[in-house]
Symmetry: C2
Subunit: 522 residues, 2 copies
């Protein structure tokens, strides 16, 4: 039995049937040359299922003890339940993939089992296949999920994996390769608090840094701090900040990392700043197109990793910075600068703390959000407007038993008060965005993808690097909208239906002409 730390337990306690608390995503792969699809996918299934000793958290389920929640080993793990085989209906475009991923991301995990599912998905075009996975956020955070994906892949195109991807062996081989034998991960229970009230009291009294941070946070909360955005402080209400329904929409898109990097260089900004500015620009466009751009700026909750280098064991080592999205700022450069300032202020606050202190500070300052959520007031008093999470991923192309990883699109959590979550992973030379939204609150989530492109073009113009990173002739198979629109269904599988596509295009054009004049007028 391992005690579940407070942040992780929060994800279990806050979960409702309408708001599942799992994270995951869609990974796109291309079959190795010459491989038979059925044989290859069947071998992957077998490799995944053929596991006896699991790495954390794949072999454990949640039990309620007298003093809290614990992970306990599942002695009768049913691998056919966890590892599934699914298929897309014809014509097997990304549209069908996203529809399936939306449904799979909607359903709750079974609390009586280890909290994960993995679907191998066949039926895509051009020899691609997909893997949708989900794991409860109580068991893993974004950086932890990246470590797991990296441990099941190799940088060698033709190296087969000699063990089950979720096995203890996979964990140990990866740890050795990545961090060497000498470096040992911190004790898993280091940040577990036996009694949170005790710990809070102790920390609050003894730590000057924490006291300082709390004071500054308190000042920002009542509006006397300059750049530090805090939850609840003038968070406007829009259609994004509603009570959410029990269904999700998932869409994904790849952007060339180079384009964002060029903007960073020219504007002296971090990747995170520019990504937040892309999201802010997209949100501003979305709200303008619906005639509901609020007077006050939207706030984004931006998770930051508090994970120490080499820590593969913590379920959750995350803090949260509330970023001012400056959606009420017309000028894209000014918008970027405002975002940048608020992120710096948030980071400065965290920088002064030790990781343990930061974790505690996060728990303290997020307590009110926890309370409003439990009371069902999340939609009445939104703590922030949306989540923008930037997860650093692998720097080199990866392969799973020889199948090239074409893209990794994260799918995260929405909740009452924030009906949309934008998470992205930097993988090799691309930025892979995965956007999850409440199906009812945000029925036209696909538009956000187009708005992200528009916002990036706008930033490129401001930075004077217009279009430099775009590769019009790019033939790689990622979930990029232009590639998707161009691609035809193979004649063997279906009679190509040109009509819906043509219709979609017309719609896009109509919408763009409807939005752009508004932006120009202002």
């Amino acid at each position: 039995m391992r005690r579940i730390d407070l942040t992780s337990a929060g994800f279990l306690l806050l979960e409702k049937r309408e708001t599942p608390m799992h994270v995951g995503g869609v990974n796109l792969f291309t079959l190795p040359d010459g491989a038979d699809e059925q044989e290859f996918l069947s071998a992957l299934r077998t490799q995944l299922r053929d596991c006896t000793e699991f790495r954390k958290p794949f072999g454990d389920y949640v039990v309620t003890g007298k003093t809290g929640l614990f992970w306990e080993k599942d002695e009768h793990i049913d691998m056919d339940y966890h590892v599934r085989h699914s298929a897309l209906p014809s014509p097997g475009r990304y549209r069908e993939l996203f529809a399936l991923a939306s449904r799979l991301h909607t359903t709750l995990l079974d609390r009586t089992r280890p909290l994960w599912e993995l679907h191998i998905i066949e039926g895509l075009q051009d020899r691609q296949f997909a893997v949708y996975n989900k794991i409860h956020h109580a068991a893993i955070d974004g950086v932890g999920a990246m470590h797991i994906t990296q441990a099941m892949c190799t940088e060698e195109p033709s190296a087969p994996l000699g063990y089950a991807p979720y096995s203890q062996e996979a964990y140990e081989v990866y740890k050795q390769q990545r961090f060497g034998g000498s470096k040992s991960a911190p004790e898993p229970n280091k940040r577990d608090m036996r009694n949170v009230l005790e710990a809070l009291k102790q920390q609050y009294d003894s730590s000057m840094n924490l006291a300082t941070a709390m004071r500054r946070f308190g000042l920002a909360f009542v509006g006397r701090s300059g750049n530090l955005a805090v939850p609840w402080h003038n968070v406007p209400k829009t259609s994004i900040n509603t009570r959410v329904s029990g269904a999700r929409r998932f869409v994904a898109q790849t952007f060339a990392f180079e384009r964002v990097k060029n903007v960073c260089k020219s504007m002296d900004a971090t990747v995170n700043d520019v990504v937040l500015a892309m999201c802010a620009g997209a949100l501003r466009r979305y709200l303008l197109s619906r005639d509901e751009l609020p007077l006050h700026s939207l706030k984004a909750m931006a998770p930051v990793s508090l994970r120490e280098e080499g820590d593969l064991d913590s379920s959750n080592a995350i803090g949260f910075i509330t970023a001012d999205m400056a959606t009420n700022v017309y000028d894209p450069e000014k918008r970027l600068r405002t975002i940048q300032k608020s992120m710096r202020a948030g980071k400065d606050l965290l920088k002064e703390l030790s990781p343990a202190e930061a974790a505690l500070f996060m728990q303290l300052t997020q307590l009110p959000a926890l309370l409003t959520s439990i009371l069902g007031l999340g939609s009445k008093f939104p703590a922030f407007s949306t989540v923008v999470s930037n997860v650093p991923g692998p720097r080199k192309p990866l392969y799973w038993n020889g199948a090239r990883l074409d893209g990794m699109y994260p799918a995260s959590i929405v909740f009452d008060g924030f009906a949309m979550n934008m998470t992205l992973v930097s993988y090799h030379d691309q930025l892979d965005f995965g956007i999850v939204a409440c199906r009812r609150s945000m029925p036209q989530i696909q538009r956000i993808i187009d708005h992200l492109e528009d916002a990036l073009v706008e930033l490129e113009l401001v930075a004077g690097v217009s279009g430099s990173g775009r590769r019009a002739g790019d033939t790689r198979k990622t979930a990029a909208a232009p590639a998707k629109r161009k691609r035809k269904a193979p004649a063997s599988k279906t009679k190509a239906k040109a009509k819906p596509k043509a219709k979609a295009k017309t719609k896009t054009t109509a919408r763009k002409t409807a939005v752009k004049p508004k932006l120009a007028k202002k």
Copy 2:
């Protein structure tokens, strides 16, 4: 707003994340000759989605009012959410279909929308396709579901349906055709009780019949009645009567109706009696094979319809008879007779009551079950061991826009205390069984299908009609195990994998030799 009656509301109140309360099933179809699969399925999708005025309960969602639960019209119904398109992975056998249906039956419906989903499923072999549907039991019972399936089909092989299957128009055309214009359905709110306590008091005081029934029920409860089985009375604990997990297994099988009818004729028994005896024989075999056949007999909850002829409007008009399954009786004929007696006693009790009184009686006598369930004691004090529900279906072959309905396999509810549900539909000349079980409590549910066959053969032997109804050369495409085993995967789709099948066969043989001697010994 329509008030939700007490029985229906019970299904909403008792629902937990591990125990969804929806019913539904898998309907198998064969594409019309010459039809293109993609075009045909796409037309079906369009026909289903193209609906503005819905028949009950497809356009309504649940709202909580001050005095109870109500149905309210959903003004923004999202048909793409409700009508879905899914696919089976290769090789597209019934095994893959049941695996998908198991998963789809596992997940909760979204309470913020009308409580139904329908999946059109492609990827089956031999030009078949499937439809999995689910509707909350608060919105529909078995007989109601049959009316809906019948309303969306025709007896004419080539007649296209001129309207959306779930439209008010479909309802009215069907009502006219089936019950004529003169016969009007009873008022929908006839059995709704404005205040259940008020109603109970009134009925209890004024109705002699109800009082008599209650007295007899009470006597049976304390063990002084002969043939009347009641909930809790010596219900043994087996692996079927556990707390259930949040995952399901679904399997299905067709039996020739003629076989059962021949046994009925020869043994002077009803179809229901013989079906219960089949289930009892299967359960006895299953428990023997696991060395856990209990001393006391298992009890089956057998729903009976209290629906009046022509009533298309009630969500739930069902009562429950608790049948003694006589699983502790070695002799198959004696077992049938014991079941028959307990069913007669239960029916006699109900016969003396008016439909309204019967509904009230059911609510009264099921109240203790409701209470133990709410208290989470369902697995500790099981009210019955399993559910065996026999739903009369259409007598003639049906077609949906020209696609022949090959089989209709129901999928119903399990709960803490009964981890398995056996529901069957009589359709044309076949009996279609759909069995749902908790995936953890009953991992080998497929065996029940084989045991049902064994139990029917046993009854045929006793009745002296051995095998008369079996058609060895039957080529119809139903989910019959022998047909399934014989069928080969088309070479174009997959390299036939002979190994798993051979393994399964060996297993079956081993199991049978392991069980049968035990039966013989006794």
